[in-house]
């Protein structure tokens, strides 16, 4: 679709759901194929309807109109934090660990960049077109530049070609699916050699594949924990918009680090207490929280 068509679609969609959204009701954000420009159109359309500028109706906006520093990197930063904590829990250091990543969009690319900065070796990356492998560790700044120019990691000169099947069978310490749903299935789950799988995408492991990974002792950091950095900084953006005061990037990152660290260890403690995997433990934490408030608020009628 052209830019004009995307803008028309966005404004029409917002107009259709206008009664349902608002800073106190429902706050949209970017997802697959939507970005900060689309969020700017959401904000403008809503503001035109209510008759005043309302930045807190949507998050993931450009910095110039109420966005938050650190928002773009937030999901990837959260992925880096939980990967680091998971490695520490299993008794190794993320520094020097080898990592394979599926997906090089906003989440995959930022995760790769931050993990490389933390000293990890990113040995394989695949995307919609192809992939690249380098056992010594890919040069991530150069790969980011290549992906920016060619819209894919495929054909990157600093490594050899890599398929998705090869990525999931890599001799790596950590594998990070950062693309779409249902990528690790009964077909490729038995071949996974990594000790840790970090679900940066939503639902990348099918329930059957999850059972296989559990039986094989793979430590899976579930999506509702692993990719919650994005919604956390979206929450920070909403707070800053309502407060009318904007934080430094170091403040955003420090608060995100604290939230993700707490969340990881709350889930880990729950998993040890109930002797269940991290996914079930994460659901226990979440259900207990929402269930308690539901009970306290009562049924209304």
């Amino acid at each position: 679709m052209s830019r004009r068509e995307l803008e028309a679609l966005t404004r029409r969609y917002v107009a259709e759901i206008i009664d349902a959204i608002g800073p106190e009701k429902d706050v949209p954000a970017p997802d697959v194929n939507t970005n900060d420009q689309v969020m700017a159109w959401v904000m403008d359309t809503y503001s035109m309807h209510v008759g005043h500028t309302s930045t807190a109706v949507v998050t993931g906006k450009p910095l110039e109109l109420g966005g938050s520093v650190g928002r773009r990197e937030a999901t990837g930063r959260g992925v880096m934090i939980v990967a680091r904590e998971a490695a520490r829990h299993l008794g190794f250091d993320i520094k020097g660990a080898s990592i394979g990543i599926q997906g090089f969009g906003n989440v995959g690319s930022v995760s790769a960049d931050l993990l490389a900065q933390a000293g990890a070796r990113i040995v394989g990356v695949t995307d919609w077109k192809g992939g690249v492998y380098n056992g010594k560790g890919l040069d991530i700044p150069k790969l980011l530049e290549h992906a920016r120019m060619h819209k894919t990691v495929d054909g990157f000169p600093g490594g050899e070609p890599l398929t998705n099947e090869q990525l999931f069978a890599l001799e790596a310490d950590v594998v990070i699916p950062a693309a779409l749903e249902n990528q690790i299935t009964v077909e490729n789950a038995p071949g996974i050699k990594a000790r840790i799988v970090v679900e940066a995408a939503n639902g990348p492991v099918t329930p059957e594949a999850n059972n296989i990974l559990q039986q094989r002792g793979v430590f899976v950091v579930p999506d509702i924990l692993a990719n919650s950095g994005g919604v956390t900084v979206s929450y920070f953006e909403w707070v800053q918009d309502r407060y009318g005061y904007f934080w430094e990037e170091s403040d955003v990152n420090m608060r995100l680090e604290k939230k993700m660290h707490e969340a990881f260890h709350a889930v880990l403690q729950m998993s040890l207490k109930y002797k269940v995997d991290m996914r079930t433990a994460a659901y226990i934490v979440a259900i207990a929280r929402v269930g308690t408030v539901t009970q306290l608020r009562g049924m209304y009628a």
Binding site: D31, P207, D223, I287, V290, T294
Partner: protein, 97 residues
């Protein structure tokens, strides 16, 4: 996604296991396994070709128990109400914020 079945049902499987271990109250269990609100809209758009195209849009607010609903806008030809409902539920179960 159709060949893998319902994504929302996969979410419910994950939910049920945890709810059982928690001995979740059956009434609360029912509430938490139903989306609060699902909206379907048709969005007519005048395309560059001069033709009118109608796009179907969804918005699911799974829970507003803890505060406002929150979640992404996804532009993809394969988007379904089932997928959006699952994504909305996962937003509710997000652990960190």
């Amino acid at each position: 996604m159709a060949e893998h079945g319902s994504i929302f049902r996969a979410m419910l499987q994950e939910f049920d296991e945890a709810a059982r271990l928690l001995h979740l109250d059956p009434g609360i269990w029912k509430i938490l396994t139903h989306p609060k609100r699902q909206i379907i809209v048709s969005c007519p758009v005048l395309m560059d070709s001069g033709e009118i195209e109608v796009f179907t849009g969804y918005r699911v607010q799974y829970s507003i128990t803890l505060g406002p609903a929150k979640g992404g806008i996804r532009y993809h030809p394969d988007v379904t109400l089932d997928e959006v409902t699952a994504l909305a539920a996962w937003m509710t179960w997000n652990v960190a914020p």
